[in-house]
Structure formats: C-alpha cells, structure tokens
C-alpha cells in the first residue's frame, strides 16, 4: 500500500516534468515541423545555468531560476533565427543541426564544470505527511508549478492573440501566412516558450534527482515517447500521454524487472505508431 502510494506520487511528479519537456518538443514540431533533438541538451544547460548562478555566483536560488529562464529564452530567439529558420522545415537537416547543438552544449558543460553528477539543493527543504507516506515539499512544489504552467499555457493559447496565431500556424502554415500572421515571429515565440519550459523542468528535476551533463539524453527520449504516444496538435493529449509515460516509468520498475519495463514501454510506442501513427489524440501532420 505504502509502495503504491509512493510510486503514484513519483509518477505524478515525473509526469509533470515529462509534460513540460514534451510540450516544448511538440510546440516546435507542430509549428515548424521539426524534431529538435537538442531539446534535452537545452533542458540540461538550463539546469546547469541555475546551478551555476545559485551555487557559484551566490544568487538566491529562485532569482537564479528566473534569470536562467530569461537567458535560455534569449537563446531560444537565437536558435530560431540562426539554427532553425535557414533550414525552413527541412526536418532531416534540422536533425543534423540539433546534434551539432547537443555536442556543443554538452561539451561546453563538460569542459567548464566537469562531467561528474551533482545535485541542486531543494527549493524548499522538508517533508510533508500525506496519509501514511511523507513526501518532500519540493515534489509538491514541482507538481504545483507544472499545473500552474499548464493552466497558464492553455490560457495563452486560448485567450491571447499570440496563442491563436500559434494555433493557426500549426494547423496550416501557408494559410496562416496569407492571413497576415508573421510565421517567423510565431516560431520564435514557440522556441522561447520551449526553452523556458525546458529550463524550468531541468532545474526542478535536478533538485529532485541529480544534475549531470548527459541527463538530457534520457529526457529527450522520454519527451519523444510522450509526443508520439499522444500525437501533436492537442494540449490535452500531451497531458494524458505524459501521465501514461510518467506512471509507466514510476510504477513498472517497482513491480517488475526495470529492463523488461523499458522494453514494454518501447513496445507500446512501436505499437501506437503502427496502429495509430498520429498518436492517441493528434492529427496527421505529414
């Protein structure tokens, strides 16, 4: 019983992180038609930036998080302008581009701070008792931030002009351009949002688990799994997909051999792709 409760709390927290990372990936996929494999590296660099600002420069950890979100957002503008736009929608060139980005970012981190894993201190230390299990406040905090951000993003898409423009571009690029929507600006905003989400989730993840130069690789795979499972073009879909993958990651290794759990997850993704390539909730993109 206790194990079930603990793993479901872990599942929800992990899902919140997966959803935030996957949302960034899905945003770029639906608006620019590209798979940004460097998303995991951005997630990692964002976390290291917060760590550096908080531990080396001695800034308050919350302020460090905000500053690194701003810096990574600015990096997003740069990425869109110089790395994604010149290859306008050519998915396979962008894969090469993003691998170059992964190499640069990961090597930069390894060279400057070293390859060892470290940990970010908890934002709010301490535990809270829920029923019989005690949960660290940081986990609750992560969950809270995740939910708040999702509500914020939903509002952004549904209520603001920018959000409606992003929706229009993701549905029909040319049609949106004909209506006078600035596609490049929309893409830039999407990249900025994706980078900020990645930074935030990277920082939260590194205070919950660990911080290392290669932590982005695993997260990238998870984000791709979520995006494929749920399909693109649907906010709610990413939510459900993230919950499924998050719970599978938190619960399956407890009840069976972790390697078998991994194989099962991959098997499910392959089946989904074969039976319903657009994902559970999305629409056909290509």
């Amino acid at each position: 019983m206790e194990i079930a409760l603990v793993s479901s709390v872990n599942g929800i927290v992990l899902s919140a992180i997966y959803i935030m990372v996957a949302l960034g990936l899905a945003l770029l996929l639906s608006i620019m038609g590209i798979f940004n494999f460097a998303h995991g590296a951005i997630y990692m660099v964002g976390a290291f930036l917060t760590y550096g600002l908080a531990m080396q420069a001695g800034i308050n950890q919350w302020a460090a998080l905000v500053i690194s979100m701003i810096i990574m957002g600015a990096l997003g503008i740069f990425l869109e302008r110089f790395c994604f736009r010149p290859f306008g929608g050519k998915a396979f060139e962008v894969i090469v581009m993003s691998v170059a980005l992964i190499l640069i970012l990961e090597t930069a981190v390894v060279v400057t701070v070293g390859g060892s894993n470290r940990a970010l201190p908890a934002f709010i230390p301490g535990n809270i008792k829920i029923g019989v299990v005690s949960v660290s406040i940081d986990r609750i905090l992560t969950l809270g931030i995740g939910i708040a951000l999702l509500i914020l993003l939903t509002l952004l898409v549904q209520k603001t002009r920018i959000g409606q423009q992003m929706l229009a571009v993701s549905q029909d690029r040319e049609g949106a351009a004909l209506q006078g929507i600035n596609i490049n600006r929309t893409a830039a905003i999407a990249t900025v949002i994706a980078c900020i989400l990645a930074t935030l989730s990277g920082t939260l993840m590194s205070s919950l688990y660990f911080l290392g130069p290669f932590m982005g690789d695993n997260m990238l795979m998870k984000a791709i799994e979520v995006v494929i499972l749920s399909g693109i073009g649907s906010f709610g879909g990413i939510l459900v997909g993230g919950l499924i993958i998050g719970f599978m990651d938190a619960v399956l290794p407890v009840v069976m051999n972790p390697l078998a759990a991994q194989a099962i997850t991959i098997g499910i993704i392959i089946l989904i792709l074969l039976i319903r390539p657009r994902g559970l909730f999305g629409y056909e993109l290509f």
Partner: protein, 330 residues
C-alpha cells in the same frame, strides 16, 4: 579547335581514376608501413563506410532510418553468440548473422513500411532502441552493458589480415550497392521515393519495393556487424546505442545524401577529423560540431557536392543545378 577536340573526353574518366587511385593507395598502405594504430582506425572507417552506405541504400527508397545500428547489433550478437556457444567457425557465423539480420529486417519492414516520412524515421528510431532493450533483457547470454567477451577471432592477433579482409569486404559491398543503385531496381526505388502514388500508378508494387530495400540495407548492416564482432572480440550494447544510429545518419548527411560517394566521403572525413584532433581531448566534439555546421551552412549538397559547387563558383554560373532530392518529406 584541335585542343578542344583533344580535351573533349576530359572529365569522363576522372572519377574512375580517382577511385582506382584511392583503392590502390589503400592496398599499398600496410606494406608502406603505417602504424598499428592507424590500421585500427582505418578498419573502423571501413566498417562505418559500409554502415553509412547501406543506410543510404535504404534512403534511396525515401525511407530515412534512425535505427540502423539496431541491425548492426543484431548481426554482431547473432554471429558472436552462435560462434561462442556452438563452436562454429567465424567464417560460417558471419554469413549466418547477415542472413538472420536480413530475415529480421524483412519481417520488421512489413509492418513498418505502412508509415512514411518522419513517422517512419520515428518508428525506426524506436526499433533501434527495442533491439537494445531486448539485448539487455537477455543479459545472461549477451552480457548487456558490461559486455560480452570470449568471442572467437577471425585471424588472430596481427591486424594486417583484418585490414585486407575489411578492405575487400568494403569494396565488395560498395560494388554491390553501386550495381543495385544504378540498375533497374535502384531506379524503381528512386521512383518510389519521389512519389509513391505515381510509382504505384505505373505498376510498381510500392510496399514490396520498400520492404526489399529496407531488408537489403539490413543485410549489409548485419554483415558488417557480424564481421565487427569477430574483429573487436568484445561487444557491448553501448556501441550500438541510439547515438550510433544518429551518427551514421550524420555521416550520410554531411557526405551528401544525393551522391553515391557521399556516405564514403562523409564517414572518412568525420572519423579521420576526430582521430587527428584527438590531441585536443575533451574539445574534440567542438571540432566535430564545427564541421557539421560548416557543411550545413555552406554546402547544401554535402561534401560530395563540393567539386560541383566549386566548379560553378569558378565559372561564375551561380548555384549548381539542383540535383534530384532523395528521401525527403515533401
């Protein structure tokens, strides 16, 4: 006038001459006396040249695979496990590994070819990961992350027989792939890549062609993997990870996906750059990334398209003519 006639055939045999020169040079390298280390590096280059070229063979039919290392893994482990556990000679198990990989690729391709474009790429990516996951699941046979040891060798300790073996293997494989590409089959595949609906309308069985293409690519990958196992003798799943597949894809893209020589040039250049830059230790990935960026921004046709690009630059004819585009999502 005379001069013009004299040089009329110029350039016709330049390509063949360069190829012949390179092959002769490669055959002469060990007698000239390059060090063991460079022989080892060159064997690695040969192995990855076959891998990248077979990846491009698959891309001829418009399918970009990101799980190609999975087939290498399958070939390597089948050959190694059979040779180790049943005591068969590597000469028998290498073809056996290739054959089994071919069957695997064929069976896998039947459902996979239902998907096109980026969806196919994604499913191939997860296929590559599934191979690794299954491999790790049967840890007691394959060794998993910690590696598999005790695989019988092909020739013993000296590296020179291996060098000639892999050189010959590469040349044979490249020859077969070249024949495939410039035959009727290759043309059919290119037709399928350009437009599957037009190809079906003129009577090409699209699914069958794509399955065949994918299975043949798997055959070459399995063959390479099996030979790899009996040269390196130690196998670990990390060699065949997702990133290996990505790197194969990058070698192909950097070399130029539209040219037969693209994968060869791309693999050789990128692997040798890493070798020569190894004095920089942890900064090597920067060099690698710099090459990628250089090619991406300045050479849209890849390294193999560079001569044509330079030629048109010298002649001031503007951009080189757009070549046919293979394996792109429309």
């Amino acid at each position: 006038m005379l001069k013009k006639r004299f040089f009329a055939g110029k350039g016709k045999y330049t390509g063949a001459a360069i190829v012949a020169l390179v092959v002769i040079l490669l055959f002469l390298l060990p007698p000239i006396g390059i060090s063991r280390y460079y022989i080892h590096i060159l064997i690695g280059v040969f192995i990855y040249i076959i891998m990248t070229s077979s990846l491009r063979l698959i891309s001829l039919s418009g399918q970009i695979s990101l799980g190609h290392a999975g087939f290498m893994c399958a070939g390597a482990y089948t050959s190694a496990v059979i040779a180790k556990n049943f005591g068969l000679a590597p000469w028998l198990t290498i073809p056996l590994g290739a054959l089994l990989t071919f069957i695997l690729a064929f069976l896998v391709a039947i459902p996979f070819t239902r998907l096109r474009g980026l969806y196919f790429t994604m499913i191939s990516l997860f296929f590559g990961m599934a191979v690794l996951a299954i491999n790790e699941l049967f840890q007691d046979i394959t060794g998993g992350q910690s590696g598999m040891v005790g695989i019988p060798t092909l020739f013993g300790i000296s590296k020179i027989p291996y060098y000639y073996f892999f050189l010959a293997l590469t040349l044979v494989c490249l020859f077969v792939m070249h024949r495939l590409e410039f035959s009727r089959i290759g043309l059919t595949w290119k037709a399928v890549a350009q437009s599957h609906s037009v190809a079906s309308s003129i009577g090409i069985d699209e699914a069958r062609q794509r399955i065949m293409c994918f299975a043949l690519g798997g055959l070459f990958a399995g063959l390479t993997g099996a030979a790899y196992a009996h040269y390196y003798v130690v196998l670990s799943v990390t060699t065949f990870s997702f990133f290996t597949s990505i790197y194969l894809f990058i070698y192909m893209m950097v070399g130029g996906v539209n040219s037969f020589y693209g994968p060869i040039v791309g693999t050789a250049v990128l692997l040798l750059v890493q070798t020569f830059a190894r004095g920089l230790r942890e900064y090597v990935p920067f060099i690698f990334a710099a090459v990628l960026l250089l090619v991406l921004y300045l050479m849209p046709q890849g390294l193999a398209g560079l001569p044509a690009q330079l030629k048109s630059l010298v002649q001031r004819r503007g951009n080189p003519p757009e070549k046919e585009v293979i394996g792109r999502v429309p």
